[in-house]
Subunit: 508 residues, 2 copies
């Protein structure tokens, strides 16, 4: 291939994949010649060729411009280089998970979304803090943030632990790029490929993916909605599977919304300590409690340094800012080392801005308002579910967070409901997403953290109709228990909510 | 221990580690009582106890305040929980590396720093872009950034590849939290623990740490300053060690400043392709070239999708913003998957701001100024080295970047020089940091990317004196070769610089 043909082919490819768009001006002949080390004549020939192909157009004294009709940027997953096979997503659940993580909430009702609406967060005030970082601030201060994180931010995080009654000192805290990174680093510190890790069943899709990618075996432990995993099964698995870690979201779990009572957390920590198995505790929803008091994490009962507590500001204060942290107990030094080679530090200006916001005050006022909003939305959603879903549907009423877990009557295939609802512009998170066994085929997770409006109401009505559609079941009131208790989908019994005597813990 | 004693102990601990500082007001009795679920009487007793111990002081009608004299925040590495042993840094080089990464450039002359001065970057203009993201912008747009990165940012990155003559399409680009994350994800995609990975010798401390933490065996290949690794040794290692990857910084290498000529890059890629060994190419210094043209990366010669090109804006535009990317060839899908479970996305507002800056223009003008500054500093530093260092010292003159690599006369121990210079408030990066063998004991890396002033001049003079001090060597002109060629520290011969006929490549 001649040089001018090769250059024309490169430019053509850039137009094709959207790097160059309609109306973009090509570099001048001289610039292209300089930057590519080609003669001007070669560049001219390439541009003539592209013009002949109708891809670019010369404008007098102005240069060459990409013609209209050039394709727009596609949001396709990263493609392979030309010589390698294009790999398709591993399975349909990967596509579903990616889809619900990137819902365009303007076009699709985001009931399947993993995130609350960013509209409920003080983004404008946070932006003010970022912009207030003085323009003439010594730029070096941006560079001199310790690897473990900005001092004042870590102090503010430690203050919140302290006022909540959790013994975490400032020197144990390592700031990370989101809770995702905190969890991943803790896992890396505690395990090696091939090891077994205990998780809840159902559990978050992200946890399952992380374990799979790292060659770890996920051992799923049955979950009692509303109070967390079965400690009897946990004990059995500790003996049988010799796991190297346990990964749980103990408060307002994703996807079930369950809250493990404090006495049960204490019992669980005792059990794990006997086997010297660390707990990686994902606690990102802790501040979203509907009662007056924040539930203590399992970390509060840790006396051996075995609980690696992970959290972030993404669900409580600052979505999209990517500021998380780990308090990894005895693994702190290991996690700090891994942090430094895993990614760059969370951007200093965002750490500084959040620290400034926390110091200024107003966080608790924001949280109280957010909690009221979420609690209110849950009520409305549950009423709508009761009104529209088929008889025999079971729903949780969570005491915090923004997820409702529904179990449809046996025989209804939630994958069918998912496909049909998507075509109606409604997203849900289908149960099989949350277990490697792809069970929970009649379960689904709904997000009530978005504005509750007519659109949302109608979506619930449509979903109920879709669920009922093929079974001919009557559409009538869902059976729920008054007050805060809710049915356990797996076994027909009521479980007391947080704060009362816990039946499960007593069984251990 | 009684409840009030336990509460007092917690608060005492928080004062001790700096979470609570002198003058901080303790939460009101009522707040503490609510948040901890304790009676007001218990909280009162705890506060009285702390007052009796002289740690807090009651102020009329105002509350309890931490007394003056309470310890300040310590910047210690994360400590262990009380029950676990405190782990010391693995070896002295870890401390040295951490020290040079966090130099307080106000107190210590930062010749050992890994980073250029942030003063040379358009941070104020970038901040304007961040603050211009309108306050009433739909917050959802912050959330809807694809996992692979903001569309316009990826397009801008692709445009720069394209104008440099490198065939990377927008869909191959994955935005990461810094080049550190790009490199780490590529490594995870290409290797498993126990595998061998080829690196240069010397190579960056970060690369060695990353490999060690992941249980990978670093196989060091001798480097010819100024033109990169020895291809003969590379070929031998490919046969003997069966590595799963090769990790190199091919342009303006850290720490030697070497630039691999394009013909040699092409030859190296041919060699690696024959063994199907991917190259993880760290190219963060590429834009810091002193000649008119940006050197082509090895990626430009890749026809098999085996080059995983990694870079960031940290050295060229936006230090402290943590925006990097990977163009991982045939591994793109794997890397994208791993990205989603490794950390949160690089903050959307920073991606948007950088994309806005690039689109607005001015990047090349900034770069031209930065390159001139760096080239100028290198000349001044080399002149000072020639004037003050012992006879027989060898120095590189790099054609880009901000590192100078010095080889002191045999017998001078750079670790001694390092210790002594640090006590004089001068940092250097000693040679043994850059090889697992802890060789290069008479070598050091100096950073000329900071303002060149009297302080820097005097530091070079002091270093030269320290180097000479114990050997009794005469202080006289360093022997350098005129023009751009420089001595190879290991063998006494001159190597031509980039752009001329390359002796090494011809040997393969």
């Amino acid at each position: 291939m001649k040089r001018y043909e090769a250059l024309a082919a490169d430019i053509g490819k850039a137009i094709d994949d959207g790097t160059l768009r309609s109306g973009d001006r090509l570099p001048s002949v001289r610039c292209m010649s300089d930057s590519r080390g080609l003669s001007a004549a070669t560049v001219f020939q390439a541009y003539y060729l592209l013009e002949a192909r109708g891809l670019v157009q010369a404008r007098d004294r102005s240069g060459y411009y990409v013609c209209a009709g050039a394709p727009q940027l596609s949001r396709a997953s990263p493609a392979m280089r030309r010589d390698a096979a294009v790999q398709l997503p591993r399975d349909v659940f990967e596509s579903i998970a990616e889809g619900i993580a990137h819902i365009d909430a303007g076009r699709v009702v985001p009931l399947g979304s993993p995130y609350p609406s960013p509209a409920y967060y003080p983004l404008a005030r946070l932006a003010q803090h970022i912009c207030a970082i003085p323009q003439d601030l010594d730029p070096r201060s941006i560079m001199e943030v310790p690897w473990s994180g900005h001092d004042e931010l870590r102090r503010q995080i430690a203050l919140r632990y302290q006022s909540a009654g959790v013994d975490v000192g400032v020197n144990e805290i390592i700031v990370t790029n989101g809770a995702t990174e905190a969890l991943h680093l803790c896992l890396a510190a505690a395990t090696n490929p091939g090891d077994a890790v205990l998780v809840a069943s159902p559990t978050s899709y992200g946890a399952l993916q992380t374990l799979q990618q790292r060659g770890l075996r996920a051992i799923e432990i049955r979950t009692h909605v509303p109070d967390g995993i079965d400690l009897q099964e946990l004990g059995d698995a500790l003996v049988r599977n010799r796991p190297k870690a346990c990964w749980l979201m103990t408060s307002f779990q994703n996807p079930t919304g369950s809250l493990m009572p404090e006495s049960k957390k204490r019992a669980m920590i005792d059990l794990l300590s006997r086997f010297d198995v660390p707990l990686i505790e994902d606690d990102v929803h802790a501040e979203l409690h509907f009662s007056d008091r924040r539930p203590l994490p399992a970390k509060a009962f840790d006396t051996h340094g075995l609980v690696m507590h992970c959290s972030s500001f993404s669900r409580s204060l600052a979505p999209g800012h990517g500021i998380g942290w780990a308090a990894p107990g005895r693994y702190a030094m290991d996690v700090a080392r891994r942090k430094s080679t895993s990614s760059s530090s969370a951007p200093a200006m965002l750490q500084i801005a959040i620290a400034g916001y926390l110091k200024q005050g107003g966080y608790d006022k924001h949280l109280r308002k957010l909690r009221r909003t979420l609690a209110n939305h849950q009520e409305q959603m549950l009423q709508a579910v009761a009104r529209h879903f088929p008889a025999g549907t079971r729903a949780t009423r969570s005491s915090g967070g923004y997820f409702v877990w529904l179990e449809l009557p046996a025989g209804i295939d939630v994958m069918r409901v998912h496909t049909e609802s998507l075509s109606m512009g409604i997203s849900i998170a289908p149960g099989p997403l949350f277990s490697a066994s792809r069970g929970f085929r009649n379960c689904l997770r709904l997000n009530y953290g978005h504005p509750w409006d007519t659109r949302a109401q109608e979506a619930i009505a449509s979903l109920g109709a879709l669920a009922a559609g093929r079974t001919g079941a009557r559409r009538s009131a869902l059976v729920t228990v008054a007050g805060d208790a809710a049915y356990v989908p797996v076994a027909v019994r009521t479980s007391p909510c947080e704060g009362l005597a816990v039946v499960d813990a007593a069984r251990v």
